[in-house]
Symmetry: D3
Subunit: 245 residues, 6 copies
């Protein structure tokens, strides 16, 4: 069995910390940490919907996401994307938006856009999975506030969402890869699950080698088992206190 540099077992997540209300303005927000990876997830509620939804019947709202890395979040400085947005950034922010739209009934949110901003403060692998797990909490906080204020009549959120990466190094499955592991992995799969155990999205690439059907099954099982305590932490964080696990 492979030994991980930080002493984790292959199926073990890094320590998770969730700080709700890290900033004071956005309707719902958390700072989430997967080990040394730290992502600020903020949900702003806007009273407009994009042009392509205007006049749609039945009326519906929208949810979209943006993702960015702070310049000093990484070992090598990341240039600000001031002229064009890289393919990687686009891919990740589309993934975050799609995942959360998967559990929201947008017909219950007419004339509302949920704008989700995921800004990476520090990056050590798994920024997109941490972002999705954190964005769900921020979204739930925002929705709860809108329900309290009567801006929403009915809870549009159908299920919880969390995500984890699973990789294979030298034939061993490892969950929640850090940067060092990620750069050595032969196979890297991101798995996004609902709290009820369904799959929202899987995305797997054989970075250095192709893989087999059985690998897929094992990865799915590993992800499901790793995300169980994460769903618990999300619920605890929604109580409003800092949680760690």
């Amino acid at each position: 069995m492979i030994t991980r540099i930080d002493g984790r077992s292959p199926s073990q997540m890094r320590p998770i910390r969730i700080i709700p209300n890290f900033v004071k303005y956005s309707t719902g927000n958390v700072l989430i940490e997967y080990g040394e990876t730290k992502v600020l997830c903020c949900v702003t509620v806007e009273d407009v919907i994009p042009p392509f939804l205007k006049g749609s019947s039945p009326a519906q709202g929208w949810l979209t996401a943006e993702y960015s890395m702070l310049p000093a979040s990484s070992d090598k400085r990341i240039r600000r994307e001031r002229n064009n947005v890289s393919g990687r950034t686009q891919e990740i922010q589309r993934l975050i938006g799609r995942a959360l739209r998967g559990v929201v009934d947008l017909r219950l949110c007419p004339e509302i856009t949920f704008m989700i901003d995921c800004d990476v403060i520090q990056a050590d692998g798994g920024t997109r999975t941490a972002a999705i797990t954190g964005a769900y909490i921020a979204l739930k906080m925002a929705v709860d506030r809108l329900l309290r204020h009567g801006r929403l009549k009915k809870n549009p959120i159908k299920d919880g969402v969390a995500a984890v990466s699973v990789g294979m190094i030298d034939g061993s499955l490892l969950v929640d890869l850090n940067y060092h592991e990620d750069s050595r992995a032969d196979l890297d799969m991101n798995v996004i699950l609902t709290q009820s155990g369904q799959i929202l999205e899987i995305q797997g690439t054989g970075e250095k080698a192709s893989f087999a059907k059985d690998d897929v099954m094992n990865i799915m099982a590993a992800a499901e088992s790793a995300l169980k305590p994460v769903f618990e932490l999300q619920l605890a964080a929604l109580e409003g206190q800092i949680v760690e696990g």
Copy 2:
């Protein structure tokens, strides 16, 4: 069992047509058709490598892809991406590049960049999977030519590549969705396989509903079975004649 508008069985690909050497200049190229979807795949060989590979040891070449839709390729005119490239386009072209790099040993191609252009002439669903299947043939044609001319010493291609989409509509699995089916699907997965039966990439999204682990297994099996004849057609097209199947 669901009835498909074009009379296909759920596990049946659309008619495929491959026209090698559709244009005269690029080193390898085909026009590939998955039913009414038509994609021109061209490989240009360039004698430069990107800056991030300069001085790498061992020396290696590069392979990258660009994807675009002609304005009149779709029912509704597609605006040219002259100011910024959409997230969808970036996602697709990154996927194509990743898939083909997965079967090429770039250390056997020093100082060479394979530039793959996939231009959609007509779109009816599955443009990215048709593009990958066609791009593999174009790449193989280009590599064969470089081998003949001594520009490459050894064949860097380790395996064949083909791709297909699999969707779920009202609980039924369907392979190779056309546009009409695609827009109704609850789940849409793109599967990229090697000729030897390994997985290069899977990407599945529950567009309208989440899905279960068993669905993933069934999808993988359907894809594998659907792509068998496609690999045959690729080999036939490499003989240089138009093939249909």
Copy 3:
């Protein structure tokens, strides 16, 4: 007398082929070939007019064109114009739009924009003249369809349009230059005529030497004579079948 590499006489066009309805979606479209030069010309009809025409009296429609070369259309790969559009591209697409507006009574097309897309599949000299000749056919096909559906009340097209380049090499006039001839020409003139024999636009540059008034007269005569059969082919293509000549 100069001998042309492809055996043509100086006043002879390259073989022309016109494939109507090359793609299935646009309202009118053809693939046109001037020898090895192949351009896909598609007309999309849009129910909006540009801001500067809003509220004009009398009401009028608009017609505009875009031109692009596929990356693999040329000997040396053409970079996609994703950040800025080159001066050459702008010049050509403005020329195409101007030429066709010259024969259309836009007051008969209120609230309609004809969007003409000319995409070069393969380039061997004369792409702009082939594009104009093909665009006219596509436009006529679109207009005929709008008339049949009652979207237009009256035919707004006043005359036919076709175009040809005429060059001078070592003192000899040659019509319809291919790429090889074009790069050697001392003088290059593009002539756009109406079917009734009038001039819509002439544009001539002494690439390597200046020229005289008499040259202009000879060029006009050569163009007029060369385009006669082209107008015939256009009419034949409008019958809906592939034509060659």
Copy 4:
């Protein structure tokens, strides 16, 4: 015969004024006026050549032009082209560069780029023709200075250059159209001639109606006759004093 609002005969240029050395820094520059149209033409000499000329054999220099209108140069404020350059601007600056390259032997100017800036201070029709006439003088001034300083060994300028527009309104030919005339013209042709009477470029568009071969001949004759005194003024301005005519 048509009566012109400013009392000119159809074949008469507007009053021309040329102010050499209008600014103090550029190597050669003039402010040129065609009536109320005023263009500042400046030539900067740079010790670099564009990448595509590096290593060319024989070595050669380059000449290129940029054109712009000041925001307040026109009746309606012109937006600055800070995000993208319009097709019209590109067309004009390419025309200016082409015209002047037509009389310069760039092989006599190795490692030199002549950068020509034409900035319209006030626009009343004919800015591109005034720009070309002025740019020639500025270029000659710059070349003379380089010859005096030994930076050029031999005069690379082979001929003089001047330009004029000719239009047709209600069947009458008019030279050097002002803005009011230009917007009414059925046909608008720009003619660029060398001092020795050769044609460098003609560009004619039937804005509102097509035209005939005979029109072209008459236009050429009118341009030739109108530009005779302009060539005289250019020579006089090269003496360094303000000239009017």
Copy 5:
């Protein structure tokens, strides 16, 4: 005491020349010269206000400025800002706009935007201060015209505006630095005053050394004294004739 290369005393402005109505179209305009620095300042009046003011109560107009240097205005050619606007340009045009808004009661100008264009024809230091001094005159000319035509009911201008730079070289204060002095200065401060002696903006940077509170006082006094005759010249220029001083 420091000796200035052009013979001025430390507290002496360069010769100023103001040419009203340098161009014919804009509502108010001047060419202003501070020695060899020449800036064309034009005010265009537009019947629109920016989106952020729409529906503001009480209704108000807007005033904004753009600044640019002609390519040949400087010793070394200035690249046109066609892709992005430099920080320096943004800083200067924001300064000009802020200064003039400081003396205009925009509530007296409902539905009006004053667009101020400052284009540097020739640069020899102090382009931003010359621009502000000139822009005030152009603005006053435009306002006077609007008052005459009844487009404004009441004069919205509350005070006059002029600006000057003050620098310190080797411990000596110098007003109105030219380029040569500017590049040697240890401290450079731009002072914008109203005619009534109040401060609109000060902006001072220790380019090569920090400075003391007493320096600030001396600079303010020097600016106040230097601008006295400038306010006189502005008034004279408003009579419509060229003034020098």
Copy 6:
């Protein structure tokens, strides 16, 4: 005397908190808080210098800054500057860079660029002054590390730097305005001082009213007195622990 909403006296700073090493990668970094305003200041050291410094004699390094606000840092969501950078952002980041270059001897840092990133996590007025105060600490931390590792031979930092805003509301001077105060201020001045009491930059605008020379003196005195304890906190933070004051 004016009463401040948060109970401060007019001359009192908001509570300041400085968290050194907030992120783990950059060479020097702090999170600095001026009340509810929170800015992350990170210094990355790069082994390249900008082109305009290459070959300068004596050799010298460079220091530059970038500033950005996170989307959720403000009451109203801030759009990411992905297409163009606003004038405000440019103005602020140029100010930060200038201020710190004012105390660094760049000739002691050959072949080094200090890249300073100031990212606003939460904004409540005074982000630019907090950024400068924080950036100085981060820079000193980075320099100390380079000295320890021998990458720098001699300390290039000549003095400490801190900044504060001073405003005037209804005739009263207030230091360190929060957002609410800032939007009501008649006059807003940013003062950047060195620890030794010299001025690096002052920048003052009469937002709603002009001001007098005496105001400037009072502002300078208020700034000097307010920044005294700030310089103490900077020194304490350099010991590596979180400090508050």
